[in-house]
Symmetry: C2
Subunit: 262 residues, 2 copies
């Protein structure tokens, strides 16, 4: 079951929130990336003395003050001095999301929504009907960081390199249950019983490409002991919708078990 | 509880599927819209004799054959002759979705995903923090039709004209429960108990703008007897994500009751 965040974080809602790679400790100086410096100085027009929030995935969330910006010159720079801690680090052990790589905009959407929904690891995969074959890893990482900043997460999910679905399944940690979003395509009709059970850290969701899984992929998936098919209702869903809905169902907010209807 | 569709419809999965406004009855001739004629003739390169599927929201789904196309001329034309019925009409009584109007692309996304998720009525609303003030109704309708065609729905949801949230609430049918997606912003923490209950035809979801509801909107909503607050987890969700996740939870696939955690 997920619960709301602290009131402390609420009150900082409109303070810019940046993911950094530096260690966060009171008094530390953090040099902002060129992108963050541009964002703070030119987009938000913040000045020395203004407060921002920083997180790095390890040390929790911290208040920091802008010590210096050089807005308007050819290259942007800014430095920040870390103040007090606002939130302690806590684990974000949401489900993993395996998704057949989509076109660029659809992939961006899946990554953003997965971060908002708490996914702890994103695994883009190539299936038999996947058209895309290459992924811009730094682009996906940047999208994930941006979504983590905006969604008030304390971590950025790991993004795995693109791999063939078959390879991922061969190396699967069998204690982690893999729910496969099959909409209407799994032979036989499944219905869903709302029985909470597994924690996010024990679950993963697999979403196929727009064209669906092939028959041989179906048969392979059905034979795997760690796979549970997941019906997402009577309509055909685009892959991004299937990802969001499947994750919502897994997130302890709904259920974690399926019951065949016959 | 939602169940899978018929095997009959599955087997037609790759046959083009078009929403038309004509009556569908065996032997009827249907004149395609210019857009559909272009799509069939120039995009899909279909020829006379080829099969398509038609639905109109009233008569179920029908096979039809292309009788005539004039691909490649200045204006596209096509006519279709209705054959046998493939699926009987059935009611699609999914929840209503009220959403604060967003920027164009985000609104398009919310409409598409809502159609995929079975919403029966879409009500764009203006809240105190809604920036957009006008909606292109024919554009939204076209997006909804396209999503209905692709998602195998038998109906296209009604799209209401843009209205002020206050007005919609004043005229609310009190037997329909309105779940309000409040993420972390509702005072006090709510947790969610997965208790299936209400049918889609008795539910609606309200999703606020990116900036959230104002305090006075909160207070007003809390006082309404037909409102149930809905917590969507610990992270801040963009409005499109909140809409998809909230609908997933309502769709009989998860739960329909909330339990205050204190």
């Amino acid at each position: 079951m997920m619960t709301g965040s602290t009131a402390n974080a609420e009150s900082h809602h409109t303070t810019p929130r940046l993911f950094v790679t530096s260690e966060l400790r009171e008094g530390n100086e953090v040099v902002a990336s060129a992108e963050h410096a541009h964002y703070l100085g030119s987009v938000l027009r913040r000045a020395p003395g203004d407060v921002v929030r920083l997180f790095n995935g390890l040390d929790g969330e911290w208040a920091a003050r802008i010590a210096y910006t050089n807005r308007g010159q050819r290259s942007h720079g800014a430095s920040l001095v870390v103040g007090q801690q606002l939130r302690r680090q806590q684990p974000e052990t949401g489900p993993w999301l395996l998704f057949a790589l989509l076109k660029r905009d659809a992939t961006d959407l899946v990554v953003r929504q997965a971060v908002e929904l708490g996914a702890s690891r994103l695994l883009p995969v190539v299936t038999e009907r996947t058209n895309a074959a290459r992924v811009n890893e730094s682009r996906l990482r940047a999208k994930a960081v941006e979504a983590a900043e905006q969604s008030e997460r304390l971590t950025v999910p790991v993004i795995d390199p693109l791999a063939r679905l078959e390879t991922v399944l061969t190396n699967w940690p069998s204690e982690r249950r893999l729910f496969v979003a099959l909409e209407r395509s799994w032979p036989g009709t499944l219905s869903i019983a709302p029985v909470p059970g597994l924690a996010g850290g024990e679950m993963a969701l697999l979403v196929g490409p727009e064209g669906g899984f092939t028959r041989s992929e179906h048969e392979h998936l059905r034979r795997l002991p760690f796979v549970t098919p997941l019906s997402l209702g009577p309509f055909v869903l685009r892959a991004d919708t299937a990802a969001a809905v499947g994750q919502a169902l897994l997130l302890g907010m709904g259920w974690a078990e399926y019951v065949p209807s016959t």
